[in-house]
């Protein structure tokens, strides 16, 4: 069967203007959201602090837990539902000492709900480690962008590389913006998703760029805009199919993968959608833009 009939001619290049406006707006919203919220809501891996995962045997609500933890140092902690009768308690304090944990959590919980609960996970990260991690993460993301830039520049041309990298930055900014808009915690899982999307999105871009290069060779006299259009149309079927299979697996992760990797699956969902979109609509116009710029330079020299 075929989703996309051969010989399809959608004028992508003609619609790129709208795509660029759309992307610029999304990017601005993403950045604005991060700024308005005063930065990202960093998880303990980056900010330091503690998370404690508690599972109750009976029906429980975050409010009841908050009530029970009143007048302990966990009073102002973030309590969020994490599966059925399961909750995450998050605080910026480092609960390294078991005594602190017993005093502030176990004793009040036992008083309020008897022994009908189980502490299933405790993670404590010192703030110093968090800062280290933040720096390393930013460094690693930027390095991986550069690595992609150089790889494409080496395999193709520099302007192709630039198109690819701008699409990547666009994807990462939008994932971060979505996390920020939804007030989700920025965890190490989300960072992992970002790395995956960097690899994935550049993948899509390469397939299109590869076709552009091939078509340029086949028909060097054709206008680049037409070549780009032809190439996107030729690879459109593949782009949609691959995105669809990856999307299927990510959906499975999101629905059945359990709460621990829920944020990973969610950011992958966002990333797959925008990664596919950007390789068609963002990286190609940039290649075209650089081409036109070079052309006008040549003209001026004449």
């Amino acid at each position: 069967m075929e989703f996309i009939k051969p010989g399809l001619k959608i004028d992508f290049v003609g619609k790129m203007k709208y795509a660029i406006i759309f992307s610029v707006i999304l990017t601005i919203i993403s950045i604005a959201s991060v700024i308005i919220h005063g930065g990202l809501n960093l998880g303990i891996d980056f900010a330091g602090g503690s998370i404690i995962q508690v599972k109750f045997q009976k029906d429980m609500s975050a409010d009841k837990i908050r009530e029970a933890l009143k007048s302990t140092s966990l009073e102002n902690s973030v309590i969020q539902q994490f599966g059925i009768n399961e909750f995450l308690i998050r605080t910026s304090e480092s609960f390294h000492d078991q005594k602190l944990l017993t005093e502030n959590l176990e004793t009040p919980l036992t008083t309020a709900f008897n022994k009908d609960y189980e502490i299933r996970r405790v993670e404590v990260v010192g703030s110093k480690v968090g800062m280290d991690f933040q720096r390393k993460a930013i460094f690693a993301v930027i390095l991986s962008w550069l690595a992609m830039l150089f790889y494409i520049a080496w395999r193709f041309e520099f302007r192709y590389g630039l198109g690819g990298i701008i699409a990547l930055v666009h994807d990462v900014v939008i994932i971060i913006g979505t996390i920020s808009l939804l007030k989700m915690e920025f965890t190490i899982n989300i960072l992992a998703a970002i790395f995956f999307i960097i690899g994935y999105s550049i993948n899509d871009t390469i397939v299109v760029l590869d076709r552009i290069r091939e078509n340029v060779k086949l028909n060097p006299r054709q206008k680049l805009a037409d070549t780009i259009n032809l190439s996107i149309n030729q690879t459109l079927s593949r782009t949609i199919l691959t995105s669809f299979t990856v999307f299927l697996t990510v959906i499975a992760l999101y629905i059945w993968g359990g709460p621990v990797i829920h944020d990973l699956a969610f950011s992958l969902l966002v990333g797959v959608v925008f990664g596919t979109y950007s390789s068609v609509f963002i990286s190609c116009p940039i290649v075209l833009f650089f081409e036109n710029m070079q052309l006008s330079k040549v003209k001026r020299k004449k």
Binding site: A140, S144, V246, F247
Partner: protein
């Protein structure tokens, strides 16, 4: 590459069988005895997030080790200066790891220089100022030596912690250095995280010090501490109420004997209260010293100090030969057992701080495995059905490659003792989505070629050849981004990157090499008129 079908089929068979071979212990729990000699023993290693356990990152305070080394050096230097009749006002360790000393006449300077040169090669003069009636000299340790010392401290700490964990009896612990002064510890399946933390993080510096009964404790508590003395506190439990209070002691600062002189330590149950205590045995030098110390200090009290806390301060009734002693102090059985372990394993050369701690209970780990496997099965089936539906028989060929891919990833993990984590399972599922990409690229290309009216053989050839360049590029970039994640990430997240990389490499083999064999086999052996694609 390899023209002969037979060779290609054999390669595939060998690779698949090898992967299955390494997976036998993971999927078959009971192997009949004549077989298990020839089979691998290792199951796929599960990460702490899947099997439960504790992950710790410790930082060794190497600065502290340097400071206490300088403290000892300052004391030695003081004695040497007195022996060599260098007149001085004071010698002390100042802030950081420096020694400040004040000479009262400049004639001493030459002797001091010679002394430093002959006996203290590690010290350097950082600055010296001539003042009326003498000079002030600041000494520091030379940089290279300081670095060596810090390195040694970390190595020694690592060794000590390994010893302690070994003696505690945890299966498959992982203890590795990280960066300059950090140690990463993974303890799978630990039941009592607090106890483990105490056992690992306790400095366990055992010292024997004489109680200063000549000076008044009250006076000292008011701030009037006699020269060479310190105040230390001891825990005392009230037997009737069970409450623990703290009691001050005035001690001579000089440690007469330390835990370094121990040969062994073990738990004993005392006869009187049937309470556990720790009985220690000194090594031969330690026994001689202990004999001498007790002989010199009969009727005085000897404080047993552990990490600055006085555990007991019994009166020395008589000279003790034989090198045996007991540490009492209201221990529970577990506390006594752990104390014996840390004393046997030795003291840490410097205090440690816990930087990071993650404990996952076994029930959460179990849930995660179930959910991870569930998602993987459903996700894979969705992709498999989709490919069959969209590409018919060719899709089924791609599905076969996909299944081989999953087997190869798991087999590689088992063979190279990689760790499977929850994000790792997610990575495996994502590879499933990505691996069919190669086949999609190839199939789409073949369809295009067929449309131009080429024969099946020619279309297959061109399709594979054209798509291959693109496939290499997409795989390389995917692997590069995952490598960045490995360099940066820790624990579970590393597992995500590792399965992604293995999966991408495997898909180069399965999606390109293996599927081609199947197509070639059928097109060469049967007269196929129409390709089901």
């Amino acid at each position: 590459m390899f023209k002969s079908l037979k060779i290609r089929i054999s390669i595939t068979a060998v690779v698949c069988l090898a992967a299955l071979y390494f997976l036998i212990p993971t999927f078959i729990t009971q192997i009949p005895s004549p077989w298990n000699e020839y089979l691998p023993k290792e199951k796929i290693h599960l990460g702490l997030d899947l099997q439960g356990g504790m992950h710790l990152v410790l930082e060794i305070d190497t600065e502290k080790a340097l400071e206490s080394m300088m403290e000892r050096t300052a004391n030695d230097l003081k004695e040497s200066m007195m022996e060599n009749k260098v007149r001085f006002r004071k010698v002390e360790r100042t802030k950081g790891a420096t020694i400040s000393l004040e000479l009262t006449d400049s004639a001493g300077r030459a002797t001091l220089d010679k002394l430093l040169h002959d006996h203290y090669p590690d010290l350097e003069i950082a600055s010296s100022t001539v003042r009326e009636g003498g000079q002030i000299i600041n000494l520091k340790i030379n940089d290279k030596r300081a670095i060596d010392l810090k390195k040694l401290t970390v190595e020694h700490s690592l060794e000590t912690i390994r010893n302690r964990v070994d003696q505690f009896g945890i299966a498959e612990p992982e203890i590795v250095p990280e960066g300059d002064n950090r140690i990463m510890i993974q303890l799978p399946g630990i039941k009592d995280p607090e106890r483990a933390k105490n056992l690992i993080g306790k400095t366990a510096l055992l010292e024997f010090k004489i109680v200063d009964d000549e000076h008044s404790l009250e006076d000292a508590l008011r701030g009037n501490i006699p020269e060479g003395d310190i105040i230390a506190y001891g825990l005392r439990a009230d037997r009737s109420t069970g409450q623990r209070g703290s009691v001050p002691y005035l001690l001579k600062n000089k440690a007469l004997l330390t835990g370094a002189s121990l040969e062994t330590a073990k738990v004993q149950i005392s006869d009187r209260f049937s309470e556990p205590n720790v009985s220690i045995k000194f090594n031969s030098q330690g026994a001689t010293d202990f004999d001498r110390i007790t002989a010199e200090n009969v009727r005085r009290r000897l404080a047993i100090v552990l990490d600055g806390v006085v555990h007991s301060a019994p009166v020395i009734q008589e000279r003790i030969s034989g090198g045996q002693a007991q540490i009492t102090g209201n221990f529970t059985m577990d506390e006594a057992r752990d104390l014996a372990i840390v004393l046997r394993a030795g003291a840490l050369p410097a205090p440690v701080n816990i930087l990071e701690e993650r404990t996952v209970g076994p029930s959460l780990g179990g849930d995660s495995i179930r959910q991870g496997i569930m998602a993987t099965i459903i996700g894979s089936l969705l992709v498999i059905f989709f490919m069959m539906f969209y590409y018919r028989l060719s899709g089924t060929v791609a599905d076969l490659a996909l299944i081989i891919n999953i087997v190869l990833v798991l087999g590689t993990l088992a063979a190279f003792k990689g760790t499977l984590t929850l994000p790792g399972i997610a990575g495996l599922l994502l590879t499933v989505g990505m691996a069919v990409d190669a086949n999609v690229l190839i199939f789409e290309r073949i369809r295009e070629e067929l449309r131009t009216g080429k024969t099946i053989r020619l279309s297959l050839d061109t399709g594979y050849k054209r798509a291959f360049i693109t496939i290499i590029d997409t795989h390389v970039t995917g692997i590069v981004s995952a490598i960045f994640l490995i360099i940066f990430g820790t624990g579970p997240i590393k597992g995500f990157a590792v399965t992604l990389i293995i999966g991408l490499l495997a898909s180069l083999f399965t999606a390109v090499f293996v599927t081609r064999i199947i197509f070639d086999y059928f097109t060469l052996n049967f007269n196929i008129k129409k390709l089901s694609i």
